[in-house]
């Protein structure tokens, strides 16, 4: 496939915010499932037990570095929980680009709400 065509195709997708949202949302789920699957595979290879409880983010990094199933399954779940936030961020950027200050403000409030609940995690 020629680079020029590929580039044009990508740009077309990006310009249409709707298509971009489509890709971000789906990518979020696919990434989430992939991570979870990876965690299950690690478990099958005896790298540890499957998690029974959610892992707080502070401990998550060490679990990931040690390649425990628990770490990756939990990461996958967290990625999923973050997907809507990524989408809201995308909407914010889109409204800013359209110079729609009212909706940029509205979107910002939603984002702040999400971040507030996120701080319960930390």
């Amino acid at each position: 496939m020629r680079v020029g065509n590929l580039r044009r195709a990508v740009l077309a997708e990006v310009e249409d915010i709707n298509r971009l949202i489509y890709h971000v949302l789906r990518a979020g789920v696919v990434l989430s499932v992939s991570l979870i699957l990876f965690g299950f595979i690690l478990e099958a290879f005896g790298a540890g037990g499957l998690p029974t409880q959610s892992i707080p983010p502070r401990r998550l990094l060490s679990e990931l570095l040690r390649f425990t199933p628990a770490g990756y399954v939990n990461l996958g779940i967290l990625v999923l929980i973050f997907t809507p936030m990524a989408r809201v961020l995308l909407s914010l950027l889109s409204f800013l680009e359209e110079r729609d200050r009212t909706f940029a403000a509205i979107t910002l409030v939603v984002l702040v709400n999400l971040l507030t609940s996120f701080f319960f995690l930390a």
Partner: protein, 286 residues
């Protein structure tokens, strides 16, 4: 980690939830939670946490398609999400503290009311038609009114969004239920948009699907940090729901709006009754 039979059954149930959810504009939580608590005997707070994850997956799966097909009203969704996220956080914090029976009871009350509301009115092409007269000032200011293409009759419908303030208030309540009960709130949002704000059914379904992901994410953070998310259950639900949603979306774009509403109402009624029975203590085996 839960037994393998439970995981498989849950995955199948999740598939159905995703399928029905994407078709009806809900996350599937209203179906999954009763299923998990009544059939799989899972603790309700874990069921709620798992369901919230499922709702995010349904939302991402279904809404992605509807947004791409320009069925979703992005501005209306964003506007209402301010209310739902507020409600969701409050609801989640409350839900962690509240007694289980009260949860079942509230669930029943809300679901039955929504069912009753949905059966009452019909939606025809005439009712979907653009209304003459003054547009609501807030709706006008926020440019909430929009247009969508309906495959049922190959028509392009412009529609107005009416009573945005009332819709906002109801969305806050929907968010509250989401946090409290672990549902996406779609079963309130769809009637609120379709009946209260006069958004055509399919656009309402599409917009609701888009919103519930954000609403659920707000509560999901809180439940996750409280340790109620059981990862293997969540994993099954994500996969099941996403697969179901992929199929449900194809069905919705082709369906008759009236049929969608009818199915929705029936489903809610059945649900409400079952949850009501559970609230009053009788062990209902499905």
């Amino acid at each position: 980690m839960a037994a393998i039979e439970i995981l498989v059954v849950l995955a199948v149930a999740a598939f159905l939830a995703g399928f029905g959810g994407s078709f009806l504009g809900i996350g599937g939580g209203v179906f999954l939670i009763p299923f998990m608590t009544l059939v799989l005997d899972i603790d309700i707070k874990i069921a709620i946490a798992t369901s919230l994850i499922g709702v995010i997956a349904t939302s991402s799966g279904a809404a992605s398609v509807y947004v791409r097909d320009h069925l979703t009203n992005l501005r209306l969704a964003m506007f209402l999400e301010v209310a739902t996220t507020f409600g969701a956080i409050s609801g989640a914090l409350l839900g962690l503290l509240v007694d289980e029976r009260l949860l079942f009871l509230s669930f029943t009350a809300v679901v039955l009311s929504a069912a009753a509301i949905m059966v009452r009115t019909r939606e025809t092409a005439k009712e979907r038609a653009y209304r003459a007269g003054e547009e609501d000032p807030l709706a006008k200011r926020l440019a909430l009114s929009s247009v969508y293409f309906d495959q049922e009759d190959q028509g392009v419908y412009r529609y107005r969004v009416e009573r945005p303030v009332a819709g906002f208030a109801v969305s806050a309540a929907a968010g509250g239920f989401s946090g409290l009960l672990g549902v996406g709130g779609g079963f309130i949002k769809v009637p609120a948009m379709n009946i209260l704000m006069r958004v055509p059914m399919k656009a309402a379904v599409a917009t609701s699907n888009f919103m519930i992901g954000v609403t659920a994410a707000a509560s999901a953070f809180i439940y996750y940090s409280a340790g109620f998310v059981e990862p293997s259950l969540a994993a099954m639900v994500i996969v099941g729901v996403f697969s179901g949603a992929n199929i449900g979306t194809r069905l919705l774009v082709r369906a008759k709006a009236q049929r969608v509403r009818f199915v929705f109402a029936v489903f809610l009624a059945v649900l409400g009754i079952l949850m009501g029975l559970r609230a009053f203590g009788s062990g209902v085996a499905l």
